[in-house]
């Protein structure tokens, strides 16, 4: 009897979990029905997702959510944000609590294949880098033999550093701190020669130094951290929409379409621009939205370059250089397939 009961219980659980995975293709309809996009973001990461004093979310990751809303509703403000910690982010997406996860999530093989989730692209190429005092006279990580490193607790940072130093036959000393603030303070007070962390983080930490101009970020990037939006794998329609929202922003930058000139650009004779802005072709229909989807994105959120500069680049306090995140035409690796 007992065994039968256990079997029955597990069958019930199994059918429940199957039901959880059986809502393919419905995300866009559900989003349209409720009237907003539910977007999972970081609880606070400078430049990527943070709240300003008016309670408005801003940042590079937040702009992805706003662009999706602009494409679906023609109104970038129709987003509800769910601030998520690193531990609960995938559950929130799997359980359907959010429609898209845009929370500086590194695209790895494990995550892409085993969670029932899919990455739609890369909106920021990050990687572990080094911040050094200018007075040290160092301009490459290869000259850091024997240096002392300030590390924020987090094992991958330490492991990456150990790998890098070992493969280059260099000796080093590590000093670990538990918060980014403590790490920056220690570096500021000369407790170590080098501060190592993800590059995006390094630029944020640099603004907290007494004299931010006295430190530089070295060109070497020793780990791959491609960050991008994530959706559930079982809804290819929604996956395509989120993917092409990202591509549209990059294509807009490539074609020189900005939030300022987008209205004039509608009259452009360039067929690429015409297709992007919905003047010709039926491209919006292919992803289930209106044909002026990309027009709305660029008009309300801006193209990729504008979003980058406003949130993390030269127009922001972080002053991150485009680097890998420049378009392929300008020495970076941000590339988008054509809209045709």
């Amino acid at each position: 009897m007992k065994i039968i009961k256990i079997l029955a219980a597990s069958a019930a659980i199994a059918s429940l979990s199957m039901a959880a995975n059986a809502h393919a293709g419905k995300t866009l309809d559900a989003v349209k029905a409720k009237g907003y996009v539910q977007c999972g973001v970081n609880t606070g990461l400078p430049g990527f997702s943070s709240v300003n004093s008016q309670g408005k979310w801003t940042g590079l990751d937040v702009d992805v959510c706003r662009a999706i809303a602009a494409a679906v509703f023609g109104d970038a403000s129709k987003v509800h944000y769910t601030p998520l910690t690193a531990k609960e982010r995938f559950t929130a997406l799997q359980s359907g609590e959010i429609d898209v996860l845009s929370r500086n999530t590194t695209w790895t093989m494990t995550r892409d294949t085993s969670l029932g989730l899919s990455f739609t692209g890369v909106n920021y190429y990050d990687g572990q880098g080094f911040l050094v005092k200018k007075s040290l006279g160092v301009n490459s990580a290869k000259q850091l033999n024997g240096a002392t490193f300030c590390i924020q607790a987090g094992t991958t940072t330490e492991l990456n550093l150990a790998d890098y130093m070992r493969s280059h036959h260099m000796k080093y000393q590590a000093v670990t701190f538990d918060t980014s603030d403590a790490t920056a303070k220690a570096f500021d007070n000369g407790r170590c020669d080098v501060l190592t962390s993800d590059q995006s983080q390094l630029y944020a930490l640099r603004t907290q130094l007494k004299n931010p101009a006295s430190a530089v970020v070295l060109p070497e990037v020793i780990s791959k951290e491609p960050l991008g939006p994530v959706v559930r794998s079982n809804d290819i329609e929604w996956f395509n929409l989120v993917k092409w929202v990202g591509f549209a922003m990059k294509n807009a930058e490539w074609l020189g379409v900005t939030s300022k000139n987008v209205a004039e650009m509608k009259k452009s004779s360039n067929p690429n621009i015409q297709r992007l802005l919905g003047v010709s072709g039926d491209f919006g229909k292919m992803i289930g939205v209106s044909n002026d989807w990309a027009y709305n994105i660029v008009a309300q959120v801006g193209n990729y370059g504008e979003s980058f500069e406003r949130n993390v680049g030269m127009d922001s306090p972080l002053k991150i250089k485009r680097g890998l995140n420049a378009l392929w035409t300008q020495g970076g690796i941000q590339y988008a397939p054509p809209i045709r």
Partner: protein
Amino acid sequence: MAYVLKERHPDLPPPRSEVGVLGWLRRNLFSTWYNTLFTLVTAYLLWLALPPFFEWAVLHAHYAGEGRQACAGGGACWVFIGDRLPQFFYGFYPAAERWRVDLGFALFVPLIAYLHLPRVRFKLWVGAFTLFVYPVIAYYLFAGGVFGLPAVPTSQWGGLMLTLILAFTGIVGALPLGVLLALGRRSSLPVLRSVSVAFIELWRGVPLITVLFMSSVLLPLFLPTGVEIDKLLRALIAIALFQAAYIAEVVRGGLQAIPKGQFEAAQALGLTYPQSMALVIMPQALKIAIPGIIVTFIELFKDTSLVVIIGLMDLLGITQAALNDPKWLGFAAEGYLFAGLIYWIFCFGLSRYGLYLERRFHTGHRR
């Protein structure tokens, strides 16, 4: 004979070194050589720490201005706190609707005040209203969606408001449940007793942080699609159940301190079990348990800050979010100091309230 003193000699004043400031210093700070040593070392440490802190927090601090440019010097940047003040209190609650939060908490004050008046009528009814009806009113006031109030989803609740909601719900939910569990644990019915023991030991055996993780990460995966329990509600239930187990043990301590004669006397008077508990045992047991209950509540108030790890923006969460605004990077000390001060005010208030309760219910046999 003139050398026999007829009147009582007037009392001499105590020696100068035993009264006044000097006497107090002598009694409390310099009574023995090691106390003197500790006093001197402490005074030296304070002298090292306080002036720089005072200089940073008050003298060189920046109080007014726009943006972080106003905080160019070395002192504390209270401009940052001022800029964020509404957010620290209300989270992302829409500015136009904040009066609802104010009203909700303003309703609470007269209710509590009435309950503290000695010998007034309808106290039981007012108490029941505060425990059972007020939370419902407050919920609809905060959440809206009825009576023409615009709906404000719980994801927009935050700051001190959320901390107070978590603490109040935790207390209101945990106390009755805890009392029932304590009674259940001492019950002579084996099923009731073992269920209570299992519940208490299970919840006391896991850390709150684990319970919150379970509620936020695992529970949604077990629920069928479409069934979504609000994240805040999940946290509230988790906190209330968790604290109930602790309250149960505190109350059980109070129950065990009641002499057996009290139970027997109640029975001899012909009181039923509920009557003897409500009229004889519980009033005494709860009185004894007050310090323990207040300690548990203070812990609960501080433990609410753990909801940060499930992404709820309580006072600590909103502080951390504010610290990550790229326009205001690097003011962690000010932010945490402010949040700490608010926590301290409430915990200190709770602790004084506990002392007041102890004095008020003091009936002469202090242990």
